[in-house]
Amino acid sequence: MLYINIKVNGKEYELGVKPYETLLETLRDKLGLTGTKLGCGDGECGACTVNLNGKAVLSCLTLVAQTDEKEILTIEGLQNGAELHPIQESFVENSAIQCGYCTPGLVMSAKALLEENGDPTDENVREKIANNLCRCTGYEQPVRAILEAAKKIRGENDR
């Protein structure tokens, strides 16, 4: 057993992990954070996207042993109590959700993008969600939601 220290959604954990254990398995099976989804397990669909030190990564293709001393943010860490994060709010307002399976991944890709670039273009957004497949709504609503979330967040910063 290998011991690692990670911070997940602001909380520190010391965990014993297996050499082949993925970050996705740790999050879901050890920490009970089932918002992050297993889709294809091959890096195609992006349902497992989380933020690792602020960057969007595929948790199904990340060995948890490699995340030692790093910071992870999952969909559960976005909202503040009952209050949704502006990205989540925009997804709801724009009907960017249908079955919901791809939603946590899309939202986490959007979160990493907006941390880096507060005023993205339509093309920036489409590029950064290229690794998130949605088989229900398509991409119009999610793209619109992310662009609107950027506006919301910029508005908050102005205050």
């Binding site: 960057k55 293709l61 042993a65 490699q66």
Partner: protein, 289 residues
């Protein structure tokens, strides 16, 4: 033999020697892991030990008088955003990186992983080949430096012995009047979307004459290859449409592609002509020719 990916150990060595010592002690059953985006898709069954290189500080891009050095553990996102790599002719590395996999994969995948997996359809090696890149390999006996084209021995096969791993990629400085280009043909921009064919070129001019020419292509043989014939045709010439065409056709003649799910061999050969022609035209244009 197990039928499932179950390495029993994960090691994080603190220096180069310890890394080689661990690798050699597993006699070929240890595997270096960087981003993991290739390893965890293939989940090889013959691996007993994973060796993470995060403590070796191989994540850097350094710009010096002799050229540029890139640590093997440098993530692709750093390469595509690197200021040092934004100038001619290095910028083809940024361009080739941006055409590779997806932004999410590029946040974790590394240049060393891209090279060491030795896929025939790999993108960065043809670009690195025309930039005369060398790779630095570390082993029990110390380090050795070899031209990147000599690193590959076949499909998924490299010159690395059991105790060796890649630490750095070195690209020399180039004279003024050097231009390069990378071209890739593929179906879609998703993470499975590897090249049907790719090609890279570099031209260095003395006045209007081609002083040096390099042409490399991928996905047309077991390893990425140079087109020596194209280089001979171009060298010492003043470029015109005819010479570019002849060089591109020579490259196509040297390509030995196969038929597979993505394209037929015949189509690949024809596309080599198109891509090499475009790469040469763009290289020339980038030096104002």
């Amino acid at each position: 033999m197990r039928n499932i990916f179950r390495p029993s150990e994960f090691r994080r060595p603190k220096d180069l020697h310890e890394t080689s010592w661990i690798l050699s002690s597993f006699e070929g059953r240890a595997r270096v892991v960087a981003g993991g985006t290739e390893l965890l898709v293939h989940k090889p069954l013959d691996v007993d030990c994973l060796v993470g290189l995060s403590k070796l500080d191989l994540d850097y891009i350094r710009n010096g008088r002799a050229g540029i050095t890139i640590g093997a553990g440098t993530t692709l996102v750093k390469i595509e955003e690197s200021e040092a790599l934004s100038v001619e002719p290095y910028r083809i590395l940024r361009e080739a990186t941006r055409l590779l996999a997806t932004p999410t994969i590029r946040n974790t995948a590394t240049i060393g992983g891209n090279i060491c997996n030795a896929s025939p359809a790999v993108d960065l090696p043809p670009a690195l080949m025309v930039l005369d890149a060398k790779v630095i390999i570390s082993g029990l006996e110390g380090t050795r430096e070899i031209p990147i084209a000599d690193f590959f021995e076949g499909v998924k096969k490299t010159v690395l012995s059991d105790d060796e791993f890649m630490v750095e990629v070195k690209i020399p400085a180039f004279p003024e009047n050097t231009g390069a280009s990378f071209q890739k043909l593929r179906h879609h921009q998703t993470s499975i979307d590897i090249a049907i064919v790719n090609a890279a070129a570099r031209l260095s001019f003395a006045g209007d004459t081609v002083k040096e020419a390099k042409v490399a292509m991928g996905s047309v043989a077991a390893t990425p290859i140079y087109s020596k014939k194209a280089e001979e045709i171009l060298k010492g010439k003043i470029l015109d449409v005819d010479i570019v065409k002849r060089a591109a056709e020579a490259a196509s003649g040297e390509a030995k592609p196969i038929d597979d799910i993505r394209a037929s061999a015949g189509y690949r050969k024809r596309m080599v002509t198109v891509l090499v022609e475009r790469a040469l035209e763009e290289s020339a244009r980038r030096c104002g020719k």
